[in-house]
Symmetry: C2
Subunit: 281 residues, 2 copies
């Protein structure tokens, strides 16, 4: 089984981003990472994103707010970041605590700065298959992995396990646009094993540690694992039991070191795109 490492994909995206930055004058584009509270997942993702921006020659700044912040105060602060002409793009770490009206924030965010595609305008663009918006980075990272490794998508049977608004559903739209025949499975799917075994491209995006194993994987399938979970030993693992599918799948992404790393590279690419679009390029 060929292991599809994220690093090679990330390196290719870095080159693209550097190409996009050529001729862009002034300060490098700046990413604002907006975080409420101190969830370990958020902190870890933030650290990864900060490092990636730096490595790509881009700026990043974290805007952190206390967990208990008043909803109105947060809205005001968020609106100010959103308006700041020095901020090229925004990543809002979610979920937000309950006192903050998430929908209102998503409606406030400038679609041109909405790098993770949470605004209705960008959601509609992903749904409509338009290329001038921003798709959620994780969903797009899956397509980047497939393309970077030259895996054909058109006409292939792609099965996505998970129907979330950040991965499953937008990815279904992105893969349809690439002409895959797309099936979306979820907790209510009957005979999940059979559905998954039919996949030529199987994407695990359910958020449950090692829930897919050899019995879910068809021979010669390409398996893309979006899950980031912690197993019983406290170690990072994906939604796929990686060891069990070796010898069955043709190719698979590991966790860690697979799609996760690519997600922040896509974020950087979106930041560069936002910078170019804001200058009318």
């Amino acid at each position: 089984m060929e292991v599809l490492k994220g690093a090679a994909v990330t390196a290719a995206i870095k080159e693209q981003v550097q190409g996009m930055m050529e001729g862009l004058e002034g300060q490098p584009p700046k990413l604002a990472i907006v975080r409420v509270g101190e969830r370990p997942d958020d902190l870890s993702y933030e650290r990864g994103a900060m490092k990636r921006m730096e490595a790509f020659g881009l700026r990043a700044q974290s805007y952190a707010f206390p967990e208990e912040i008043n909803g109105e105060d947060f809205k005001e602060a968020f609106a100010a970041i959103n308006r700041d002409p020095d901020v090229t793009g925004i990543l809002l770490l979610k979920p937000l605590p309950p006192q903050i009206p998430e929908r209102e924030i998503e409606a406030i965010i400038d679609p041109a700065k909405d790098l993770d595609g949470i605004s209705p305008v960008n959601m509609a663009k992903v749904f409509a298959g338009e290329a001038d918006g921003f798709a959620p980075c994780t969903a797009e990272a899956v397509v980047e992995v497939l393309k970077a490794y030259g895996i054909p998508i058109s006409g292939k049977r792609a099965v996505i396990v998970g129907r979330s608004l950040v991965v499953g559903r937008p990815l279904a739209m992105l893969l349809l646009k690439e002409n895959a025949t797309v099936t979306v499975c979820h907790t209510r799917t009957k005979n999940l094993e059979e559905e998954c075994r039919r996949a030529e491209i199987l994407v695990a995006a359910a958020g449950r540690a090692k829930m897919l194993g050899a019995s879910h994987v068809g021979e010669q399938a390409v398996v893309i694992d979006v899950g980031i979970n912690v197993d019983e030993d406290g170690k990072l693992c994906g939604d796929v039991d990686f060891a069990s599918i070796d010898g069955r799948a043709a190719m698979a992404t590991p966790v860690p070191g697979g799609v996760g790393a690519v997600t922040t590279a896509v974020l950087a690419k979106h930041l560069a795109q936002a910078a170019k679009r804001s200058r009318g390029l």
Copy 2:
């Protein structure tokens, strides 16, 4: 094979709409049908919609513009209809001629009056599975037919042939919300027959006369035909060769007299919903 006629579904929706109208004071809600040019399809749909609104005790008015209207003039006229407080909801017949920037019109339309779900806000709501927007009427009509006939959706394998923005993709979202396992097929799908035969619920929304026949239909499948085409003899027909699937499918909608009739009933329901929401009910 049980024939799933639209009339029974329409009658049930009529009752719902009348229930919704009880206690609504003043003039009945008004539908504005906006048409550019005189395409026979549009005229026929317009006539059907006008009749349906009348039968349901709702108002409807057609706003027709010449095929050659200047894009700016149309935008202005459309904005005035959109602003008119007497207009409760709008149906814009599409496609528009090339000189009219369709995207701009979709961005202008008040999401609260956008009964056929063409605005980015409503598209995003359908994508996100939120119930307070408007889905495209034809996509929703499919779900109404299934529900009216008591056909279980949860956990079923639903296969949709066609990935259009008015039927295939929004319907995929609506069926996912009902917990179906959803597959979307299209022109680039390999082995369409095999994919379709696996369907417990098969939806034909490709827009090609009689393209699906007995070899596409699994035993005991429920077949919903969204197509409205004209066959070689000039007669109305669906995307399914209806005669050929008799004895194979468990149930199927005919064309005409199936989903088509339900679409205008859903439009009427959306009009009543728009009226209630505009009054804060």
